[in-house]
């Protein structure tokens, strides 16, 4: 996994969800929702918008959202798949 992209994703999560955490506090494979970080559906909405804003990827159906927003790793994987290449710099 692209560690630089993973860091960017963590920073985006912390920024948009105003989390009282540092990037080091979020493990790549830790669940973001439910028992993990304890995020909920409003956080999911905010996070989907932030991913679109920062990484230009669209999460436009619920099933896709559930699969992608599982952890930092799944988000990074989705961004890499969507881009099919190295990620663009954050907007």
């Amino acid at each position: 996994m692209d560690q630089s992209l993973a860091l960017q994703v963590k920073e985006a999560i912390i920024r948009c969800l105003r989390l009282p955490l540092t990037p080091e506090g979020i493990a790549d494979d830790a669940p973001l929702f439910g028992a993990g970080l304890g995020l909920d559906s409003i956080d999911a909405l905010e996070l989907a918008i932030e991913l679109e804003r920062t990484f230009n990827v669209k999460l436009d159906d619920e099933q896709l959202g559930k699969r992608v927003l599982r952890s930092v790793s799944t988000i990074v994987q989705f961004i890499e798949e969507t881009k099919g290449q190295a990620p663009a710099a954050p907007a």
Partner: protein, 407 residues
């Protein structure tokens, strides 16, 4: 039905500090919470002072994962409710406990943020996180969710009378046996745009004459000073308080409400509405005016409001007929004022004292009310608390303070 209603707890986040005891101590000591505004710009305004909550660090009280989603008014509500409930030793997780909160600014901060984002970044730039705070009942709902109080949940917006309106409605519901207890009062926080709108309306005491201050009933009063605060009381049926072994501050004896037909943002032209609210509260309390030991007034330094309230007091109690206090010389004006005044009344009368009315001198000879710039002893423990909102809503609450620790 017709339950007696007592006050078993008070939570204060105020311009004079944190906690109801501190609030009363500071008022009785004659300290003012009014200071130059440092949290936002007042450049270009006529006024530059406000009475803002002092010493409140939300992260000391609220889990950081929850805090990130709660706006300024919600924070005041949650913590003021928590302080009041802790003092009353009121449990959470109850179908018989409700929440009634009054606020003019509930949702304001989040709405301003939302609109600013919409204008500067477009629809995709608007944060979803703040959306639930934009709803006017967010603060009261948040308190119910946090503490699992599943009784009636109400939000009241009556401008400067919001908090006393909340208390009046809660007392009525308790009298009817609709709940065992309510967290009720007012929560208010302001931000730059709210301040600037009031400044533009020219309702704030201006600095340009060099006399910016809150001066209830004074000859040179020239407008009010905006304040903020979280002032929440626990109102409870006497039977519930007795069953829990709670030691009440005092008892709510009667409430009254009325309205004057006046312009939406104007003050009434005559005292009739205030007179009716006070007389209704006294009638429900079964008391004659002579049995009231002190009035905690709505007067906030606005020329018209103070004049009509003085006329109303003269009509009900006679000229200089009852000791009168306005705490707004120290706390400014906000939607939380009525709960702040009732808290001040109960605690100071419990101690046999009346707080000063800061700024009341030199007196206005047209306001024939017995106010004092210094604290003074009170001869008894019955208070009438007034609240009037511009636009013409009036509330009055008659309460009796108990001797400390006794019901």
């Amino acid at each position: 039905m017709d339950e007696r209603v007592v006050v078993t707890g008070a939570g204060c986040l105020s311009c004079l500090g944190i906690g109801a005891g501190t609030f009363a101590d500071e008022l009785l000591a004659g300290h003012s919470g009014i200071a130059p505004v440092a949290t936002f710009s007042t450049d270009g305004c006529r006024s530059h002072s406000a009475a803002l909550v002092r010493g409140f660090e939300p992260s000391r009280f609220i889990d950081p994962m929850k805090l990130r989603r709660i706006d300024e008014v919600g924070r005041l509500a949650l913590v003021a409710c928590r302080l009041a409930a802790e003092e009353a030793r009121l449990p959470g997780d109850s179908d018989r406990i409700g929440v009634v909160l009054g606020s003019t600014t509930a949702g304001l901060h989040s709405t301003v943020t939302h609109l600013r984002s919409l204008v500067t970044a477009g629809p995709a730039g608007v944060p979803a996180l703040g959306f639930s705070n934009m709803i006017g009942n967010a603060a009261a709902s948040l308190c119910a969710l946090e503490f699992k109080w599943r009784g009636p949940n109400l939000s009241v917006a009556q401008k400067q009378a919001s908090a006393l309106a909340a208390i009046a409605f809660a007392a009525g519901l308790l009298e009817q046996g609709r709940a065992a207890a309510f967290l009720c009062g007012g929560v208010e926080d302001i931000e730059e745009q709210f301040f600037r709108v009031h400044d533009r309306f020219r309702v704030l005491s201006p600095a340009d004459s060099g006399q910016e201050a809150s001066r209830p009933f004074a000859a040179e009063r020239n407008g009010f000073v905006l304040g903020t605060g979280g002032h929440v009381l626990v109102l409870e049926t006497a039977s519930s308080a007795e069953a829990r072994g709670a030691a009440p501050y005092g008892e709510i004896l009667g409430v009254g409400a009325s309205a004057s037909a006046c312009r939406p943002n104007g003050w009434p032209d005559d005292p009739a509405g205030i007179v009716r609210a006070m007389r209704e509260a006294l009638a429900r309390a079964g008391l004659a005016p002579a049995e009231v030991d002190a009035v905690f007034a709505a007067a906030n330094g606005t020329p018209q409001l103070d004049r009509i309230e003085a006329l109303a007091l003269e009509e009900v109690f006679g000229a200089f007929g009852v000791p009168v206090v306005s705490i707004k010389g120290a706390t400014g004006e906000s939607g939380a004022s009525g709960a702040a005044a009732l808290t001040a009344a109960l605690i100071s009368l419990q101690r046999g004292m009346l707080p000063p009315t800061l700024g009341c001198e030199p007196r206005d000879p047209a306001c024939r009310v017995d106010v004092s710039p210094a604290a003074r002893p009170s001869k008894g423990r019955v208070a009438l608390v007034n609240a009037t909102a511009d636009g013409g809503a009036h509330y009055a609450v008659v309460a009796r303070a108990f001797a400390a620790g006794r019901g």
